[in-house]
């Protein structure tokens, strides 16, 4: 007997009739593949619910409490109030938000991401990877840690060779608040391997050497995992740039 995804979905929600339930549970006992499909349905339900649970913990805004008390200004009762028009990001956060889950596990992302959206975007997604683009890609390809222009939107931290042989660099994006990350050369692109909100927002004015030491722990961990030997010195960094960061 075969079961449609619709039946399995309803089963996971506890919404099938007794006959279907009996048939399905009999089949489950002998069909590991079917059992796995049901497990997926259940896991998905838990994932979706868990993703919105944090909202319950947030403090309720005073304006909502006030409107329940009937103290809302102007008594706009029953009227359709247009929601505030908000500036939209030029690059699509959702596209890479999902991908980031598999790529940047355990790293916390802040709302800063969207506000970095001054075009062109510093990050983009491609084939399941998060890639540097725009100002970030240019800085990763061109900017040397030893000679960084003051006020540049990106500060390069350290450049190093990964155990895989390729080159990687840490960076701090300073567009609005600081976002620190680590990207590795992947062919013509820079693939972002880690990304986290910097602990010292906007602090990069005090010297670029600090950029590496100020790396958020998640980025620093990734650096430790990837690095082979020591970071590049100024000469090695210049040489690597001349080779286009190809191994």
């Amino acid at each position: 007997m075969t079961f449609s995804e619709e039946t399995l979905s309803a089963y996971a929600d506890g919404e099938v009739d007794a006959a279907t339930r009996a048939a399905l549970e009999a089949a489950l006992a002998t069909d590991p593949q079917l059992a796995q499909r049901v497990a997926h349905q259940r896991a998905l339900r838990a994932r979706v619910r868990d993703a919105f649970t944090p909202v319950l913990e947030e403090p309720v805004p005073e304006r909502l409490l006030a409107s329940v008390r009937g103290a809302a200004p102007g008594q706009r009762t029953g009227q359709v109030v247009p929601l505030r028009q908000r500036p939209r990001a030029r690059w699509s956060w959702p596209q890479w938000g999902a991908m980031a889950a598999s790529l940047i596990v355990g790293v916390l992302l802040g709302p800063v991401l969207l506000r970095l959206a001054a075009p062109p975007a510093p990050l983009e997604t491609s084939g399941g990877r998060v890639l540097a683009s725009g100002v970030l890609a240019r800085a990763l390809s061109q900017q040397l840690a030893s000679t960084q222009p003051p006020g540049a939107p990106v500060a390069i931290g350290v450049s190093f060779r990964a155990r895989s042989g390729g080159y990687c660099r840490t960076f701090v994006l300073r567009a609005t608040q600081s976002l620190a990350g680590l990207a590795c050369r992947a062919g013509p692109a820079w693939q972002v391997e880690a990304l986290a909100q910097s602990e010292a927002p906007g602090a990069a004015g005090g010297g670029y050497a600090r950029a590496a030491s100020a790396l958020p722990p998640a980025v620093a961990r990734t650096l430790d995992e990837l690095i082979a030997g020591e970071p590049l010195d100024a000469a090695a960094e210049t040489a690597a740039r001349e080779r286009g960061w190809q191994p």
């Binding site: 449609s4 995804e5 619709e6 979905s9 309803a10 929600d13 919404e15 497990a39 997926h40 896991a43 998905l44 838990a46 994932r47 979706v48 619910r49 868990d50 993703a51 919105f52 649970t53 944090p54 909202v55 319950l56 947030e58 309720v60 304006r63 909502l64 409490l65 409107s67 329940v68 008390r69 009937g70 809302a72 008594q75 706009r76 009762t77 029953g78 009227q79 359709v80 109030v81 247009p82 929601l83 908000r86 939209r88 699509s92 956060w93 959702p94 938000g97 999902a98 980031a100 889950a101 598999s102 940047i104 596990v105 790293v107 916390l108 992302l109 802040g110 709302p111 991401l113 969207l114």
Partner: protein, 162 residues
């Protein structure tokens, strides 16, 4: 009326969660909820005695959201502004990537599927209750949920958690 207000205050965290699934970012969601609270208080007489307040409020939120979507559609035509589902990050401060990714995948579902997800998967309502709020037959709700799950699994993968 005072009793209604007290119950509403208790219900606010849950209503905010429901609104967040619909409206994606916290500010829009709270705006939507505020509009809905005002409507609910203005039409408190329509709440049947003994009927669950949560279900009634979900219905009001749904209608407010539909109105809002229409208004957005008009604005989008006026300003040709991209109404991308780019808002999740706005409220994602400090949340794990897994949470952001799931919220984000839900945000990209078609409206009708997202509403079904909000009512059944997030709020834990029965199909009967959810179908009643959505004003559709249970069969329609069932297939919307199945399609929503398929889409979510496509976006999130099958691994059951990052």
């Amino acid at each position: 009326m005072d009793e209604l207000r007290t119950e509403l205050v208790e219900l606010l965290p849950r209503l905010r969660r429901f609104a967040r699934v619909l409206a994606r970012n916290a500010h829009d969601a709270d705006d939507l909820l505020q509009t809905s609270i005002e409507r609910a208080l203005a039409h408190a007489g329509q709440l049947r005695a003994g009927a669950p307040l949560a279900g009634w409020m979900f219905g009001i939120l749904r209608h407010a959201w539909i109105d809002e979507q229409r208004a957005r559609g008009r604005r989008a035509r006026l300003f040709a502004s991209p109404e991308a589902a780019a808002d999740v990050a706005d409220t994602a401060q400090g949340l794990p990537v897994e949470t952001i990714a799931v919220q984000d995948a839900v945000a990209r579902l078609p409206e009708e599927q997202r509403l079904a997800v909000a009512l059944v998967l997030v709020e834990g309502l029965s199909y009967k209750e959810a179908a009643h709020i959505m004003e559709v037959p249970i069969g329609t709700l069932t297939s919307r949920l199945a399609r929503a799950r398929e889409a979510l699994q496509g976006m999130l993968g099958d691994d059951g958690g990052a």
